[in-house]
């Protein structure tokens, strides 16, 4: 696997969408390629950042109560 092929699979690796075999092929390349590893860490960091920043909202308690009334009504 060369760098171009590796980079094309990085998003799927970050998203855990590769089969174990595919993932191990990409990881084998990463072990020997600091440049692609940097890029992988960056893409993974971006995903973490989005999840952390957008994933902390909680539904207001008033909405929860309203829904309980609707669902159990």
């Amino acid at each position: 696997m060369n760098c171009k092929e590796c980079v094309e699979r990085l998003e799927e690796l970050v998203d855990k969408e590769l089969t174990p075999l595919e993932a191990s092929e990409v990881q084998m390349h990463l072990e020997n390629c600091p440049s692609c590893t940097d890029r992988f860490e960056f893409e993974a960091g971006m995903k973490r950042l989005v999840r952390t920043c957008c994933g902390s909202d909680r539904a207001p308690e008033s909405l929860r109560e309203r829904l309980r009334a609707i669902l159990n009504g």
Binding site: E11, E12, D15, E17, D38, R39, E41, F42, E43, G45, M46, K47, L49, V50, R51, T52, C53, C54, G55, D57, R58, A59, P60, L63, R64, R66, L67, R68, I70, L71, N72
Partner: protein
């Protein structure tokens, strides 16, 4: 013979996904009041059509599908679902490459300095069809397969939309990083 779950069971299971749905609604509508309305309508519709939910399948994905369909039908008048998103001329922008061009080491330090509010604002600036795929895959952790079912598109479309969405998001964050002095562009390339 399939037995229908009592309403209480369905309700208890459905309410477990409230935070997830509310976050999704917030990103779709970008407005807390509209988000609450959308979630409430989603649960009302889910309750009405609960018989069509197949037990053992993904309830969270089912609820999400109801919600995004309601969003597109009601809040957007049905427009946008088929909107072409392929004409983005700068879709190949990548923050990583840009930071390399700027001779900065594109390490995670840059990401650490980006304020959470700015990330949310950048996501909210994405076109709705990009926003929803980022929300599903990156924020809520849906697999491509489930995202594809929710969005009623092929998995390949989920992947390409996600890729473009991330590129656009990176461009927005790069602009913010430059404006706020986190990144100093070495020079403007012609």
């Amino acid at each position: 013979m399939a037995t229908e779950a009592p309403q209480g069971d369905f309700a208890a299971q459905a309410i477990e996904h409230l935070d997830t749905l509310y976050r999704g609604a917030l990103r779709l509508t970008r407005d807390p009041d509209q988000a609450q309305d959308l979630v409430q309508d989603t649960y009302a519709r889910a309750l009405r059509y609960q018989a069509s939910f197949k037990p053992g399948t993904n309830l969270r994905a089912w609820l999400f599908a109801i919600m995004r369909n309601l969003f597109w039908d009601r809040f957007k008048g049905g427009q946008g679902r088929e909107v072409s998103l392929d004409q983005d001329s700068d879709e190949d922008f990548g923050l990583y490459e840009r930071l390399q061009d700027d001779s900065a080491h594109p390490d995670l330090d840059v990401l650490d300095q980006i304020a959470a509010d700015e990330v949310v604002a950048a996501v909210d600036q994405l076109p709705p069809a990009y926003r929803e795929v980022v929300m599903l895959v990156d924020v809520e952790g849906f697999a491509y397969k489930d995202a594809a079912e929710i969005l009623a598109v092929p998995i390949g479309t989920v992947m390409s939309r996600l890729h473009r969405a991330r590129r656009q998001l990176q461009r927005l964050l790069y602009d913010y990083a430059v404006e706020s002095g986190i990144v100093h562009p070495a020079k403007e390339s012609a």
